[in-house]
């Protein structure tokens, strides 16, 4: 353990002030915090809540139902990031749809889905576009590429989300946020600075190595002790105030903001991204005249409460009993970045 880690450790373990609630927003942070056991250093007065930053976890049940509809009713080849295949829909997940004969293919990048469409002109390929500012640019790139190639058999089912409006919805749920370093690397820090200046929301941009995470936590505690609203960038080796301008411009060209439903948080105005009118032919909802599909989450599952920090995974009745990583009932048990999966794997 090096000196700076020791120092951060002492600040955290030595805290004896008022009760604090800190929310890590990012799913990768959730996983890393469990992996390194950061929670175990926290005194009882500090509550660390896992926020809605795992893209798989916040994807609404209805989105899975839409994907299943495309796969089974329309016979589309559904390409998706692997984790989504096991996220439960109202009646079935995509793995069940595959067992019923649907073609569901895991891909590592939206561009792989474009390749599949190019190589299989007889198939209608749909990519399930989920994720935050970190993955949305690659979905936009896929749409641009499909357009450039003149592909008629490729479309996107979008559920892309943006962070700034989610922060607005989360105001008041924590004393400070650990902001997701990867998202800020794209968006820059302006939204977080504005939140601090206009609404007094405090937060620190955190990196992902053990020393970066423990340092960000110590800085957050120190600044909370002072009592003034604050914003700090503790991930300066990657994050700049301006962000990644070319990625932002790409998103701006291809997509526009829209209302979006978040599992647990409900509908958040203008917190999603959809394809612009110029790309309508690549929008699966328009292309297939999709009816409105409303999903119904399993009533026993408390993923919604977990995502808002209202309960711990272990407070959920099905956690670890019927809901396990092998047989997930809720989305938070599916992805490695989900709070429930992290609690389960690291046996907290």
């Amino acid at each position: 353990m090096n000196e700076s880690v020791k120092k951060a450790r002492d600040i955290i373990t030595g805290y004896n002030g008022r009760p604090l609630r800190i929310m890590e927003v990012c799913g990768t942070h959730t996983h890393e915090i469990f992996r390194i056991g950061l929670r175990k250093l926290l005194p009882e007065s500090i509550d660390l809540i896992s926020g809605p930053g795992c893209p798989v976890c916040v994807t609404a049940v209805g989105f899975i139902d839409e994907a299943v509809w495309l796969a089974l009713e329309k016979g589309c080849t559904v390409c998706t990031f692997g984790d989504l295949i096991r996220v439960p829909g109202t009646e079935m997940n995509l793995a069940d749809a595959r067992a019923k004969g649907a073609e569901v293919r895991p891909v590592y990048s939206p561009l792989d889905a474009v390749e599949i469409a190019k190589e299989n002109p007889d198939k209608q390929v749909v990519f399930l576009a989920v994720g935050f500012e970190t993955t949305t640019p690659s979905a936009c790139l896929a749409a641009e590429q499909a357009k450039a190639l003149g592909l008629k058999n490729f479309s996107l089912l979008t559920a892309n989300k943006t962070m700034p409006n989610a922060y607005n919805a989360l105001v008041g749920s924590a004393d400070a946020f650990l902001y997701p370093g990867h998202v800020n690397a794209i968006t820059g820090n302006s939204a977080c600075i504005k939140l601090c200046e206009e609404k007094g929301v405090s937060g620190v941009v955190a990196g992902f190595t053990p020393s970066e995470l423990i340092t960000a936590m110590a800085v957050t505690i120190k600044l909370l002790e002072k009592g003034e609203p604050f914003f700090r960038n503790c991930y300066t080796r990657v994050v700049t105030d301006e962000g990644n301008k070319s990625a932002m411009a790409l998103m701006e060209r291809v997509m526009e903001p829209c209302d979006s439903e978040w599992r647990g948080l409900g509908l958040i105005p203008m917190s999603g991204m959809k394809l612009r009118a110029e790309y309508a032919e690549y929008d699966a909802r328009i292309k297939y005249s999709m009816p409105e599909i409303k999903g119904k989450p399993n009533p026993a599952c408390r993923c919604g409460d977990v995502l808002q920090g209202k309960c711990k995974p272990s407070d959920c009745k099905v956690f670890g009993k019927v809901c396990t990583p092998l047989h997930p009932i809720g989305a938070c048990m599916v992805s490695d970045e989900g709070a429930c999966a992290a609690y389960y794997q690291y046996a907290e």
């Binding site: 353990m1 880690v5 450790r9 990768t28 996983h31 469990f34 992996r35 390194i36 056991g37 950061l38 175990k40 250093l41 590592y108 990048s109 053990p210 020393s211 423990i214 990583p325 490695d336 794997q345 690291y346 046996a347």
Partner: protein, 334 residues
């Protein structure tokens, strides 16, 4: 003779003989390797160890080795883990019609070289050819016999509280190499497999002490899976020091990008050793002199608590559970 393997090569006639002459006899020549139905071996004194293993790795050739080298290492290492000096091996080939003969020769040459390095003789073989698409390239099965050293008594059930846990080198390189070779993720890296025959490595440890409780080679499922197996077989707990676990920088990079745990990536040339703590320094010092174990390190110790579990001391000085193994991440790793 044509340049690819055909169904006629597997039909048992003239062309089969040609294949055996050109490829197998050329590389596996020994007095015991004859045209008779079975190899006749001289008397072998002492206790014997015997093992068999199938190899279906895809792609068949990767940075740092090929399926031929792997098929010798896998069986040699299994024997070595029991303290047995590998003596004789057999190999069975299942080859897909159309597989290039030059490639088959490359595989046989790698087997010859690897076997020679540890002094094991290939004494019998079999060749079958399948139609196109009925197998993928080439599959190999090897079986080996070795003589157990009189002073060796190792088993996965013999780990004891207080034992040191040693690995003979950095972890997860074979799995990472195959993952890169498949090119599914579009990641480029020059990482090479740790695939190696480890008899001499094992032999050198017994020059230091006979007091070695467990030797396991960490193949499918990686070091993490082996540790959970031994914790359960020996009814003990294991505590690891995260910062002491050797991981190649390139493997760290790939794992970081894909969110993988290096402890769960396959190795093909790494041993996990449990021995009394007082022997650990001498064992590690000896291992570090070896060709395949220069990065050997003590990575943890055995406890009487946390039975059946593997606990990690983290970079920030806390303890967490190493998540339970979920099974091999990639199919056809070996």
């Amino acid at each position: 003779m044509k340049d690819t393997v055909t169904l006629a090569h597997g039909a048992g006639g003239k062309q089969t003989s040609e294949l055996i002459e050109r490829v197998f006899k050329a590389h596996f020549d020994s007095p015991e390797f004859t045209a008779d139905d079975a190899a006749v071996l001289p008397e072998i004194g002492g206790k014997l160890a015997m093992t068999t293993d199938g190899f279906i790795v895809s792609p068949w050739k990767f940075n740092g080795g090929n399926i031929g080298k792997l098929s010798i290492c896998g069986t040699v290492n299994d024997l070595s883990c029991m303290g047995a000096k590998p003596l004789y091996m057999t190999c069975g080939f299942v080859i897909e019609e159309g597989f290039p003969l030059d490639d088959l020769e490359q595989i046989a040459a790698a087997m010859e070289k690897t076997a020679a390095e540890v002094g094991v003789k290939i004494v019998a073989g079999d060749t079958k050819v399948t139609g196109k698409g009925q197998c993928d390239g080439v599959f190999i099965n090897t079986t080996g016999v070795g003589r157990i050293m009189e002073n060796a008594h190792t088993s996965g059930s013999l780990a004891k509280p207080g034992d040191a846990v040693i690995v003979t080198g950095d972890v997860g390189r074979h799995g990472c190499t195959i993952l890169i070779a498949r090119d599914d993720y579009g990641i480029e890296s020059d990482v090479d497999s740790d695939c190696a025959p480890l008899w001499h490595t094992v032999e050198s440890m017994f020059e230091v002490t006979n007091d070695i409780h467990v030797i396991r080679d960490a193949t499918r499922g990686g070091v993490g899976t082996v540790l959970y197996e031994i914790a359960s077989q020996s009814n003990v707990g294991i505590t690891l020091d995260r910062e002491a676990i050797p991981v190649d920088e390139r493997v760290k990079g790939v794992c970081g990008m894909l969110g993988l745990e290096p402890l769960y990536l396959a190795c093909e040339g790494r041993l996990v050793i449990f021995a009394p703590a007082e022997q650990a320094d001498a064992l590690v010092a000896k291992l570090r002199e070896g060709k395949y174990s220069a990065n050997a390190a003590v990575i943890g110790h055995v406890t009487a608590e946390n039975i059946g579990k593997v606990v990690m001391e983290t970079e920030i000085g806390t303890q967490t559970m190493l998540p339970q193994p979920k099974g091999e991440l990639l199919p056809r790793i070996c």
